[in-house]
Symmetry: C2
Subunit: 355 residues, 2 copies
């Protein structure tokens, strides 16, 4: 096993001292990079890219060639599990993900089985192994999955949604049926993330993109409860190190205390939360990841540096901060802005880690 | 002047005792009602309906014929001010509002003037006068406007947006230009709401639909600061009664303490906030309005009653609660569900107002 040369990211997740604040970026391997668009075009389709371990590895590593990121994240999609369940994931230009066979009726939900990741999802674990080999110990690799609630929204609605009419009707009128679906998903996600860890993922993140669409009580019942189950089912150590877990509920800023009780190591924050206030609320329990508005990357480099400085100052001195955006980078960002961002985090954060 | 027969709503906004929790519903005059769709079709277009005081009055009163709402709200659109500024508001089927002439450059922003509501917006004040006459003291009438930030998002983006790329670039790169736009809007909204009050509105609500898209700091600078200016500029009393002001920032649950310092009388809450926790945070300063997830209205009546009961219990006994949805009712709701909702609020709340 190769020794890890840069372990800032893993140390920050465990709230251990670091020399500078580690930084990575959600969707760092993505459409804002011309080299990504070239590989994507060779792959033929987005799912063609996800399901080809060599190409997935190639795009995972691209941003690390350009920028001093402190972690790599597996290139994949959050919807691989429902796709493996036979729902037929596809993408329409400019419309987001869709499913050919959404599940809505009791019959459709009851016939879903827990997914064995060594079967139809072996392209994911193959990619993880390959990426680990290619990284050669430079930075750690993050594995990930969508949360059960977030997966269920796409599976029931059939795609992206603004108001979530179908799944919310299910939640209110037939909660036991939705719980059955979420149970199957939570078990599948647990197996899936453990398989990624076994293949070499050194930390994992659960993306709860749509948890913030729920009320306070419904969030706990339909989203957080299942993320807790997953966290409890993950292997605690791999390769002699703890495997930290990051939970990211977009729009979950009001529920940080609840999420911090889940057993996870780190909370992902979107940009609506003041990271200093978040630290005061939960910072003795978990690390915090975030949280610059991705739109700041549209600004001139001087403004980006200033915004990075504000967030570092809000968090303040001490351990437990992983810098990131509050959501994924958008495709229209000029690549040089990302360099300004990453360098600003490293340069300006050193002062918060002295003594 | 006709005496007000039902003043529960106004009393609750001022945190005075009431016999039952008052209830109204955002978009209560709207597409879920067949009689609304009939009038809308006679008007020819949505803006045709807004700009015709007789028809606007007709649809404002329709929900009060069916349900025991404790307030009427002027039927209008949040984007009347930019339309009056010459931006050319129009609606495309299923796409939300758009502007023919968005404002983006310094030149376009600098030539905008404060709007005198007695000119191009007299159709609004005419509608207010007419509705007051027709209400005949049955329930109070709410006037409203979009917040400066929310109006600016549509004016700069040219319509609805998910990521707000143009206005956020403006906010980060040319903040002084955006402040100039927000200043003109804040002055215009102040005049507009005061004109509605002079015409007979007995309370006003500012809809900050997109404030929740901002970071903690940017929200204060670009949205809350201008709502504060408006609140400070509104007439405090009319017809010998205070005119309460409701601020509703969708997605603003993390900033309630800040909003409660604005001088407003009531905070509108979306459904992501636990109304009991909100009361503990700010309930000695302001009343609270909300906050059932509109999707609950898709559920069977028994489930609706249960959800109403949960929110009433979260708020608990005492004064200062106006029941509402956490956002507007959607067009697909069967009208009988609304009856179940309104009656549940009145029936179940009586017990919280005994002493």
């Amino acid at each position: 096993m190769t020794e890890l040369k840069n372990d800032r990211f893993l140390r920050a997740l465990l709230r251990q001292p670091v020399d500078a604040t580690p930084v990575w970026m959600m969707r760092q391997a993505g459409r804002y990079l011309p080299e990504y668009r070239a590989t994507r075009s060779r792959a033929g389709s987005f799912m063609g890219l996800c399901t080809n371990p060599e190409l997935a590895c190639e795009v995972t590593l691209q941003p690390l060639e350009r920028y001093q990121f402190d972690a790599a994240i597996l290139f994949s999609d959050i919807l691989t599990i429902p796709d493996a369940m036979g729902l037929g994931l596809y993408f329409e230009e400019g419309e987001g993900p869709k499913f050919k066979q959404p599940v809505r009726s009791a019959e459709e939900i009851e016939k879903l089985d827990v997914i064995d990741p060594s079967g139809k999802l072996s392209y994911v674990t193959d990619a993880v192994s390959l990426i680990r080999r290619e990284l050669n110990g430079s930075v750690p690799l993050i594995g990930f999955s969508g949360s059960p609630w977030t997966l269920a929204t796409y599976m029931v609605e059939g795609g992206s949604s603004r108001d979530f009419p179908r799944i919310k009707t299910l939640a209110f009128n037939q909660p036991e049926l939705l719980h059955r679906l979420l149970d199957v998903l939570a078990e599948s996600v647990t197996l899936y993330l453990n398989a990624q860890i076994a293949a070499g993922a050194q930390a994992v993140q659960i993306f709860d993109t749509w948890g913030g669409a729920l009320s306070h009580n419904a969030y706990q019942q339909f989203s957080l409860a299942y993320m807790k189950k997953i966290v409890a089912g993950l292997v605690a150590e791999s390769e002699g190190r703890p495997v930290p877990v990051i939970l990211f509920t977009k729009g979950g800023g009001q529920w940080l205390e609840l999420i911090a009780e889940s057993g996870c190591h780190c909370l992902g924050l979107d940009w609506t939360t003041h990271i200093g206030e978040a630290r005061a609320r939960v910072g003795d329990k978990v690390a915090l990841q975030g949280n610059m508005d991705p739109a700041v990357l549209r600004a001139e480099p001087g403004r980006i540096e200033q915004q990075v400085g504000e967030i570092l100052a809000q968090f303040g001195p001490g351990n437990g901060h992983v810098f990131n955006l509050g959501h994924g980078i958008t495709p229209d960002i000029p690549p040089d802005r990302v360099a300004a961002f990453v360098n600003a985090v490293h340069d300006q954060s050193v002062t918060y880690h002295r003594n």
